[in-house]
Symmetry: C2
Subunit: 240 residues, 2 copies
DNA sequence: TCCCTTACGTGAAGTGTCTCACGTCCAGAT
DNA sequence: ATCTGGACGTGAGACACTTCACGTAAGGGA
């Protein structure tokens, strides 16, 4: 594991992050100050495991920089990616609030800057501030909608449709460079939609020949999102 | 659709249900009284659609009797069952709290007695009572854990393992008569785990020949749960 | 009582995806 | 400058599951 990055305490402004964050900005300046004094920051290198499934640690993480992969490894080594968490989002909120073991692994895909808030500090805050509780509930609702949609997709949609959908999601959501370039390996795409690397490759090559995208080592450049969106949105027919 | 059941207002004690319910019993007698006066009851016959995906109605349902199926229909008519809700549980909490359209269909599998609480009444309650908010968050956490596990299962486990697991879940959770008899059709089992009726039938017959269970019209009787539990728990190998 | 719908049982044929096997190319390490 | 591991490309074969087609049986309504 490379260590290109040193962990040196606070290297970004916790208060600013909290003030800008959709969940925490409902707090007044006073509570933000209080939270910021509790929270500590953490800088981790790409490849670091932030927590693993089964861990009992109960903290909330806010991503201040980088991308975190929420995934899950089966007994025979297969990986399933549930979600990618980017700047301004949070993760680990389930174990934070019910105190039970973590349901998945969290892995830093890139070098990451994280803010860590502990259950001991957060739960009293929620108890005293119903509006924070409601914000958290909103987060849970969004997660639940996302997860339900994932199940739906796996059960209902065929492979090209899911791939198109995932590609667009990655291009929109994740760390895509200026012109829709998504930095992700084909193997990782396979782990997100639960298919083999080879299958991903075959479909992507078909689309590359149609000039809808361009394949590079460690990345995909989406050239024309529209036909992909049509496939993704079509729901059933799925032309190819 | 038969109408063996008449809908005649309050035919069970709302207050008693609220007092006994894991979520609502944290409220004092006063708030229970207030909620009970807001909530109305509803009795629906088996087969009734309680709400459909895309509906904007924002109410919470508590099941006071019967079983409700939370499912989802694909464009080509396939059904996926996300969850079965039994006595003492609630459903519809996502749309209740974020006010967005329903993510799934809710269908009465049996004649059902429901209690309905509206967003207008519930949200102010949550705002005023952080402990209720925390209880709701617990419900969300449980849902999220269940849903994540479903995804894991679909992606990682092979067919017999999933079937064994589902069978045991049904026997424990659902409306099983005294000796592990589960009242469910093979088609419905297929919809829960996302496989064809024929595949379900073939595997069940293998197990029937081993005397692990007995098949009946509209039901499965689990005779010896232990070997099934072993298959379900095995995780990967999956003997058959 | 006779339908007629629904559920179960079962084989044959078709097919999508995985696995395996291989080769190529690139990037960073030594 | 070479080595070496990872990522991509691509075909052949295997196999699990689906679909289709059919038959049987049970229950409910007219």
């Amino acid at each position: 594991m490379r260590l290109r990055l040193e962990s040196h305490g606070t290297n970004f402004d916790k208060r600013a992050v909290l003030r800008e964050h959709p969940i925490f900005r409902v707090l007044g300046a006073e509570l933000i100050e209080r939270l910021a004094s509790y929270a500590h920051t953490k800088t981790v290198a790409a490849g670091t495991t932030i927590f693993a499934k089964g861990d009992v640690g109960a903290s909330l993480f806010a991503v201040c920089g980088g991308t975190v992969k929420i995934s899950n490894r089966s007994l025979d080594g297969k990986d399933a990616v549930f979600n990618l968490i980017n700047v301004g989002e949070i993760f680990g909120e389930i174990a934070l609030l019910d105190g039970r073991p973590r349901t998945a692994d969290a892995l830093a895909m890139t070098d990451c800057e994280l803010m860590v808030i502990d259950r001991r500090e957060f739960v009293p805050l929620v108890e005293g501030r119903p509006d924070v509780a409601l914000k958290m509930i909103e987060v849970f609702c969004a997660r639940l909608r996302h997860t339900s949609e994932q199940i739906e997709d796996v059960l209902f949609l065929d492979f090209p449709t899911r791939l198109a959908k995932t590609l667009l999601w990655l291009a929109k959501t994740a760390k895509s460079s200026p012109q829709g370039k998504v930095r992700i390996t084909q193997r990782e795409i396979g782990q997100i939609i639960g298919m083999s690397r080879e299958s991903i490759n075959k479909q992507l090559r078909i689309w590359e020949q149609r000039k809808w995208l361009r394949l590079e080592r460690g990345g995909v450049v989406v050239l024309s999102p529209d036909p992909l969106a049509e496939i993704a949105g079509a729901g059933q027919p799925a032309p190819d």
